[in-house]
Symmetry: C2
Subunit: 268 residues, 2 copies
């Protein structure tokens, strides 16, 4: 049972203009290291705290060093404050070390009932959450994944073959993500959702964790209450790097966030 809500573990406290404190939860970690999307959500809370532009529309994070669970400082610097959109730089520091720096374009998501146009998208699928198989708090290679005791990730049965029969070679994981206590997603928690799933490369080759180097997120609509459907795919492994994309749809099927990341990988 979950002991921490997402709102709790991403709370930021203003200390001075442009300066916040926060605590990285030991529960939201993989092998003791905080999830990269979780850290980006922390930065997103701080970057949108002033309420002029309450939503992160685009966020780009570069990961310099992994913070340990515990106290961190978040520094926020407005770069430009326009009428419709703003631009904000945010960085997460622990002691004298910068761990993550991110750029945000902020604004206010509209209330359009549906997109104007959609195309060139992967098949979103029609899987049933209740048929999904929960990702356990341990990887096939034995890394403890504490965060899976917090969030509830249900993979489509067809996406769990990497853990039972071995990788399928498709580099694709599909399923559903639910926050602790079924907390509703908001634009900030979508920054986490695009990085929540296990590496899609687990469906290509068994490896250790795949550390994120760079993560970019576009938040496209305010999600309807409920879990989100996630499609997480790998695209190219070359020279020790892999890029992955993540499509997140709300329960109505609307695409609410898209992420793309570059990560390091050591193939066996």
């Amino acid at each position: 049972m979950s002991t921490t809500t997402f709102a709790e573990v991403t709370a930021v406290t203003p200390e001075a203009p442009g300066r916040f404190t926060a605590t990285v939860s030991p529960a939201w970690t993989i092998g003791g290291k905080p999830n990269g999307g979780y850290l980006l959500a922390l930065l997103g809370r701080a970057a949108t705290a002033d309420a002029t532009h309450p939503d992160p529309l685009a966020a780009s994070a570069h990961y310099l060093a992994s913070p340990d669970p515990g106290p961190v400082t978040i520094e926020v610097e407005p770069l430009r404050d326009g009428r419709a959109i703003g631009h904000v730089r945010a960085r997460l520091r622990q002691g004298d070390r910068t761990c993550v720096e991110a750029l945000f374009t902020t604004g206010r998501l509209g209330d359009t009932p549906a997109p104007s146009w959609e195309g060139n998208q992967p098949d979103p699928g029609t899987s049933d959450l209740t048929a999904g198989i929960r990702v356990p708090a341990m990887t096939p290679s034995g890394i403890p994944v504490a965060i899976m005791d917090e969030v509830d990730i249900r993979l489509d049965p067809d996406s769990t073959r990497f853990a039972t029969d071995g990788p399928t070679g498709r580099g694709e994981l599909r399923g559903w993500l639910t926050l602790p206590d079924q907390e509703h997603f908001d634009p900030q928690s979508l920054l986490y959702a695009v990085d929540a799933f296990p590496p899609a490369t687990f469906d290509i080759a068994p490896t250790g964790w795949v550390p994120t180097l760079e993560l970019t997120v576009h938040v496209r609509a305010r999600p309807a209450p409920g879990p989100v459907r996630v499609l997480h795919r790998a695209h190219l492994i070359d020279d020790g790097w892999v890029d992955e994309s993540c499509h997140v749809r709300d329960v109505t099927g609307r695409l609410v966030a898209h992420g793309t990341q570059l990560a390091g990988i050591r193939l066996p």
Copy 2:
């Protein structure tokens, strides 16, 4: 005939530690505004100037304001300098105005002869450059596009229907990109290549230009000499924003760069 090479229009001159000057070329503009990928390449030259980590592996730019053609300053701040990779913040300023801020993860691209794995990619196509139709220096709606007098973009005949019969609704443009004087692409000019094509949304609806808000590029391999094949696609138009992706392959068919961007769009 071209008057400027890409090397010339992206030259940066060190003025002081972490400070460069450069000149934004009036020839590399669309409706008088510099191309966003061109500006990112300028930042990329400065961000990789110190030669410890000569290649941009990942770059994320947020566009605050469009500079006018003319002199600009580029400020570079190393955020972390590791053994294999570095992290650098770079910003382009004109007068007292920040126009673009970008984060770079830098390193050295390997000499792997081929990727380890590739999947979940759109069909790269087999179009012939010599059959392509050159993009003229004027949009269908009458915006002058000076940059098309510099670079040579040849769209597959099937991708030019937006300009003749009207948009197909597919939101996809395919073709080839050649730099002036057939200059070889390098990792820095690939930062431009992912933003070189006309908006893929021209194949959905005739609009004005589609200004880039955020552009992220992953450079995946050193390109072979020759032109590059480009697949530029739109994915979702919602609430006045569109995301586009761009796959760039060298003449051998290898995926050398991938871009994703969020841009503003006003549908008619």
